[in-house]
Amino acid sequence: MARLITLDEIEDGMVLSTPAKNKFGQILLGAGLPLTQKHKGMLKTWGVTMLQVVDEAEQEEAKSFTTIMRDDASQKLVQRLQWEPENEYEKDLFEMALRSILEKSY
């Protein structure tokens, strides 16, 4: 679920899977925090060299579900919600629920 990266590999929107700590074990940034380029300097100052972020490659695996499975789950989800996603945030919420259903069903 997590991937180890160096500070240079930080990309905007990557999400910390475990807290970033300094050498004294004090937490600098909490798990779940979305990273931005501005964090690089601060982390470097505190001597942090590596971070654990959420592994998107693993999440991509969910895409390996067949189109039929996705369509079926998608239809059920729309029925439950009684609304269809429109903006990017709603589409992301929908995708989140869809992947959860797919992983639990197949």
Partner: protein, 282 residues
């Protein structure tokens, strides 16, 4: 006596805040209170102290398995967060003895509340909220009004649950049909009776609208969205299955990164399973 009068009388007759919580709150008002003193108060109840430690070590607080004593927990998580955990455990304990019925099961209700607490905190983190210490408890308490109905107006509450199910409407609307007010109002009465901080009172009152005119922080929109996330992921159940389309104003308010929900989902589900086990089953 009408519904409102009956519920007000029931809330007025409820016991005051759980004892340990009251003792902690009092101690925290004294600026000289040390972490050790607070730890001593919490430790007067060994069972609750052990649970507090387990919750403090939950991965979503970021200190998995590293906190060995209550003093350390206070040091790492802060006075308020520890007091909030004690409070959450006390409230769950005092309201979990009610009997389940097929339409409403307190264990599922609390599982949903815990899911909302975790999701609220994660959403708060994603929105770069300044302080996250009230997010977990805010999520846990948001639906507390349903338990007031369940405990003191069970027959009518069951009728509301059935209306929501049959008409495919929200439980909030069904409650308004029966009681002429809903669980946000009932919960708010309880929060006032318990003299909870105004931020929690507002969470309980406004968790279905997501935004308020005078709210400056991200707590209410985070609870609002946390509730939707928990329902969409089927984490616990709080009486009805309606999932509203999010109020578009919250996206501008929270400014979450793109793709955030898909990224946090696996971890959210894992944290949910662990925390429910600790808080409800161990």
């Amino acid at each position: 006596m009408d519904h409102l009068e009956r519920i007000i009388a029931a809330v007025n007759n409820l016991p005051t805040l759980p004892t340990v919580f009251a003792a902690i709150s009092e101690a925290m008002e004294d600026p000289r209170t040390s972490a050790d003193k607070l730890a001593q108060i919490i430790s007067t109840d060994q069972v609750s102290a052990l649970k507090v430690l387990k919750v403090a070590n939950s991965p979503f607080f970021g200190f998995r398995g590293r906190i060995d004593t209550i003093s350390e927990a206070v040091f790492y998580l802060g006075f308020n967060e520890i007091r909030n955990i004690v409070f959450a455990l006390s409230v769950i304990n005092s309201f979990s003895k009610t009997t389940s019925i097929p339409q409403f099961q307190p264990v599922d209700f609390w599982a949903h509340s815990i899911a909302v607490g975790i999701a609220t905190r994660v959403i708060g983190a994603g929105s770069n909220a300044e302080s996250l210490e009230n997010y977990f408890l805010g999520g846990i308490l948001h639906d507390i009004g349903k338990l007031i109905f369940f405990q003191f107006a069970k027959k009518d509450f069951i009728a509301a649950l059935e209306i929501a199910e049959n008409k495919k409407i929200s439980l909030k609307s069904a409650e308004a049909e029966i009681f002429k007010f809903d669980h946000t109002v009932a919960g708010h009465m309880l929060a006032q009776k318990w003299k909870l901080p105004v931020s929690f009172q507002n969470v309980i009152l406004y968790h279905h609208s997501g935004v308020t005119a005078d709210s400056t922080d991200n707590l209410i929109p985070s609870v609002y969205l946390g509730n939707i996330v928990a329902k969409m992921l089927n984490l616990g159940r709080a009486g009805d299955d309606s999932i509203p389309k999010p109020n578009p104003q919250i996206w501008d308010k929270l400014k979450l990164p793109a793709g955030y929900f898909s990224k946090i989902r696996p971890r959210l589900e894992e944290d949910f399973n662990n925390t429910v086990r600790i808080m409800l089953h161990e």
